[in-house]
Amino acid sequence: MKFREAVRDATLQALESDPTVFLIGVGIIDPRAVWGTLTGALEKFGPDRVVEGPLSENALTGMCVGAASLGMRPVLIHHRIDFVLLTMDQLVNHAAKWRAMFGRQQHVPMVVRAVVGRGWGNGPQHTQSHHALFSHVPGLKAVVPSNPRDAKGLLIAAIEDNDPVVYIEHRWLHEDEADVPTEYFSTPIGRAAVVRRGGDVTLVAAGPMVSESLKAAQALQNAGISAEVIDLRTLRPLDSDTILTSVAKTGRLVVADSDWAPCGIAGEVIARVAEEAFDALKARPVRITWPDSAVPSSQAIEAQFYPGAREIEMAAVQVCEKQKDDFVKSTIKHFEGPF
């Protein structure tokens, strides 16, 4: 099943199994059905549960807060996460506060499903990630699936969760294919996954950087370095235990994030490890993140923007000094990336 089909699968099954679930968003009844992730939803569940919204993201978000505070489970869909910036007041000042501010009598079980764009000159305003912003705020949860199975399981978990959850979906992954259980299931929020075992270095990533990390781990193996790869899956609450356990074993850490570095999730992972597993660290931890720049439109420089497997691999080799010489032999041949 493809990633986008898994999103659809989760959506239709949630609508099917729980009458309080409804979809709302700008352009969700478009015949293109949000890259096919909603195909058939309108026909099956009708305009009361597949609610086309005007171009009023802020009000739609507040409506979800209101509906959720009366027991509904809205799923608010954005074609780009950049548009969520119009709704930060409702997400951060309202949805995130509702449970605490009223002495835990209220809760807001809503999902904001937002797509991250990339490629074909989408430019500075249609390619941001912003998962760090949501990870900062108590009262919000944030998940980032890296594969079709989690795309389904995490979306169902987000819909079942009683707190507001931001579900960050990388369009880049839409065509990825994998086995996905056809039945209704959920992937627990707040738990990272060790997706590859290794003993020399821990590679931590989320979303699209997971497959890059796995590619890097493969290349590292050729260089005689055994890398463990952790898929965070949830950014808030962050699963420190899984990370700390791994670093306790490897003593080395490389964190790859498809976002800017300052106050980002990669820095958060490093800070936690430095604070809580300092003695286990054998080498400096390293971040692989975006350059500190907007995403350019031109294909010529966009190619220089996104780091990938090679940058992760090179960083891992550097923190595993002992193998550095092997590395030069084993990987220099295919290291011709921009930086």
């Binding site: 009023s56 802020n58 979800c64 007041d89 835990r104």
Partner: protein, 319 residues
């Protein structure tokens, strides 16, 4: 429908009682605030009482209200628990929000008082969402949101009116136009300082009425609620009223110079209790004063003796 002469004696008593309860409760807050036991910023409702009392009198228990931060009147008129409100102002564990919200964040889910926001316009869209949930669930409840004349300057007001009209949602938008946002006059903020005309070009009715005349408020609210319940869609009600004391706090503020003492006096003269005086007899007022006084005494005693919340972390905060 409720033309003045058609009001039942019970309803007349209820309208007056609810206004008087708010007035006396806030006067007590005023007189005891200096004791520094109530430590949250109070936005007194005094002067607006007829709006909450008149609207809530037509609502059912299963209808919900989304008051704004100036919420004491709505909380009480919709049937919110007075003891829990005072305990909240005192920051106590038994407060209606467990001490976490304070004066700006009252809630009483049993009474249909939904959470209030300190962000201007913050709950306008919440009410439309509640109305949408009634639609999806096939219920005939209605949602009411109150907000000031400043809130309509926030884009979300217009976004929400549009969607509510498009879907004919059972929601009523109640604007309490008291002429000022904090200390800035509406004519210094709006190109055309009238609220109700905003409704019409979204395709919903906009109504203007004297917000200090509880009978007028009740009558317009009754029409709007009937309309919403019947599935005919939302209404925008503009009620002209006036805030007697400072925007936030317990004092008079004409000495600031943004409004004159004469203006305040003129509005006080046509205040909701003054205009509503005809609803009840002298003897009834005596009885009400006695009951209300006793309730307020009890509520303050309750609030004072109630325990403080003990731990931030018990409430679920992580270290």
């Amino acid at each position: 429908m409720t033309r003045r002469n058609a009001l039942s004696p019970d309803l007349k008593r209820k309208l007056y009682f609810d206004m008087l309860l708010v007035r006396r409760a806030e006067e007590r807050i005023q007189s005891e605030y200096h004791l520094r036991e109530m430590r949250s910023p109070p936005h007194l409702y005094m002067g607006h009482e007829a709006v909450a009392a008149g609207v809530c009198a037509v609502l059912r228990k299963d209808d919900v209200v989304f008051p704004y931060y100036r919420s004491h009147g709505w909380y009480l008129a919709k049937g919110g628990d007075l003891d829990a409100m005072m305990a909240e102002l005192f920051g106590k564990e038994t407060g209606c929000s467990g001490g976490w919200g304070g004066s700006m964040h009252l809630i009483d889910l049993a009474a249909g008082v939904m959470g209030t926001s300190a962000i201007v316009g913050g709950t306008i869209s919440h009410a439309a969402g509640a109305a949408l949930s009634f639609r999806i669930r096939g219920r005939d409840s209605v949602a009411v949101v109150s907000f000031g004349d400043g809130a309509i300057e926030e884009g979300v007001f217009h976004e929400t009116l549009n969607f509510s009209s498009l879907r004919k949602l059972p929601v009523i938008f109640v604007c309490e136009n008291n002429l000022y946002a904090t200390n800035t006059h509406i004519r210094d903020r709006q190109g055309r300082p009238e609220i109700h005309p905003h409704a019409e070009r979204f395709g919903l009715p906009g109504v203007l009425a004297d917000g200090n005349d509880v009978v007028a408020v009740h009558s317009e609210a009754a029409k709007a609620v009937a309309r919403a319940r019947a599935g005919a869609g939302p209404t925008l009600l503009e009620f002209q009223t006036y805030r007697i004391f400072e925007h936030c706090g317990i004092n008079e503020d004409h000495e600031l110079g943004y409004r004159t003492l004469d203006e305040v006096r003129a509005w006080k003269a046509k205040g909701p209790l003054e205009q509503g005086r005809h609803l009840v007899s002298e003897a009834e007022i005596q009885r009400m004063e006695a009951e209300i006084g006793a309730r307020i005494d009890r509520a303050f005693a309750y609030a004072r003796s109630a325990p403080f919340p003990t731990s931030l972390f018990a409430e679920g905060a992580a270290r």
